[in-house]
Symmetry: C2
Subunit: 243 residues, 2 copies
């Protein structure tokens, strides 16, 4: 008996603004209580109409200067700044903290799959999006909205969670003891990120990507604990990037 | 039909030096070609006799100084330094690059599950360990040796790969095009890390942890590409930590 099963949800159309994602998913997959639904942030953003035309952006002097340094379209840089609460790195790429707390390159703005001259922002409030989608599923399912990010010290990109509902971001091992009865040193496991990575593995990045995955059989805490985004006061790397 | 299934391998004894892990696993699980076996680095290290007694370490002046700064046992700090090629951060914790290229806190040395006054080093060459284990499975399986690491910008820890065999670390999307025929921007996906994260999710950290997981149904490249450890020349964060 497998401990966990991963299902790709095939058959979703190309998502447009206003599409009811939860209803579309319900018509394609038979959800059960305890399932964890992972959705690529792109399809959530598309359903929420987060497309923008680059020509709608009027870059500031700062955006123009930053754009020149990294060889990007100044309108794109302006879009990134508009979505950001803080710029962590200006070059060789734009690493920012988004308004909702996620640290990512270019504020997670996507230029793939949306046509020339257009961009796709991340959902404005992915936690709220996840909560709304979860309500639409009519079962006790968790919802994780995933994005793909590079990581310091590691090559390549991996899936991470940018929004979640019906599941705790972190599994708390505090109070647990090891085989010799000693308290465990590592106490918080980023389960939403681990699930997002597993989902990304199945989704695929290319044109035939399937942006919806369900995991069945996972044991997970439904609520409690903190965010998957590190609190700034805890972050020892972030202050060192300010230079 | 699920796209992927994850199996915990139950019934492994507490592993001792010299145990033939591959044979033990073969006696507990019916492997098929294409399976991906994930093993916690701890059991691989134990089978390889990577236990050390702290009293065997004679800390240098540098180790004593560093230990005092972070309130650690100087012998433990000496053990970390012995396993390290480079120290990236001295405080508030010891972040190092191991001799085999992995960046992790305390060089991945474990003080859980090994008894008081003892430590467990990571396998000396996890890639070689993975290759040897893969050969012992007698099927065309991939083997990934996992560890649990904190990540900049993200809360909590997640599983990562420290050694792998029979699978490319990175899936290369170069040449792939999006729905509109545009070349994809993100080209390398760290599949061994994503699988390690999925495995960690199933393994559990506590005393009842099950350190062996098999994934079935994954499509993955068997070889090629680079390492999951970022090349130093590519790393924009690492040079900024030197202060």
């Amino acid at each position: 008996m497998p401990s966990m099963q991963g299902y790709l949800i095939y058959g979703l159309p190309i998502i447009k603004e206003g599409d009811d994602l939860a209803s579309l998913l319900l018509s394609l997959f038979d959800f059960q209580d305890g399932d964890v639904l992972c959705l690529a942030s792109t399809i959530v953003a598309k359903s929420e109409g987060r497309f923008r035309d680059l020509e709608g952006y009027h870059p500031s002097g700062r955006a123009r200067q930053m754009a020149q340094e990294i060889g990007k379209d100044p309108r794109f840089v302006q879009a990134v700044l508009d979505e950001s609460a803080e710029v962590l790195l200006e070059k060789p790429f734009l690493l920012v903290a988004t308004r909702f707390g996620h640290v990512g390159v270019n504020a997670g703005i996507d230029q793939s799959n949306v046509g020339e001259g257009r961009i796709l922002l991340l959902p404005e409030d992915p936690a709220a999006s996840a909560k709304r989608l979860r309500a639409g599923l009519k079962k006790d399912c968790a919802v994780i909205i995933t994005d793909t990010c590079g990581r310091p010290f590691r090559a390549g990109v991996a899936g991470v969670a940018v929004g979640w509902a019906g599941i705790a971001a972190l599994r708390d091992w505090r109070g647990e003891r090891d085989l010799h009865g000693k308290a465990l040193e590592i106490t918080l496991e980023a389960i939403v990120d681990e699930i997002a990575s597993a989902a990304n593995l199945l989704m695929g990045e290319a044109g035939d990507g399937t942006p919806a995955v369900v995991f069945r059989g996972l044991k997970y805490p439904r609520s409690g604990g903190g965010s998957a985004f590190m609190e700034q006061s805890q972050d020892v790397i972030r202050p060192r990037l300010k230079s």
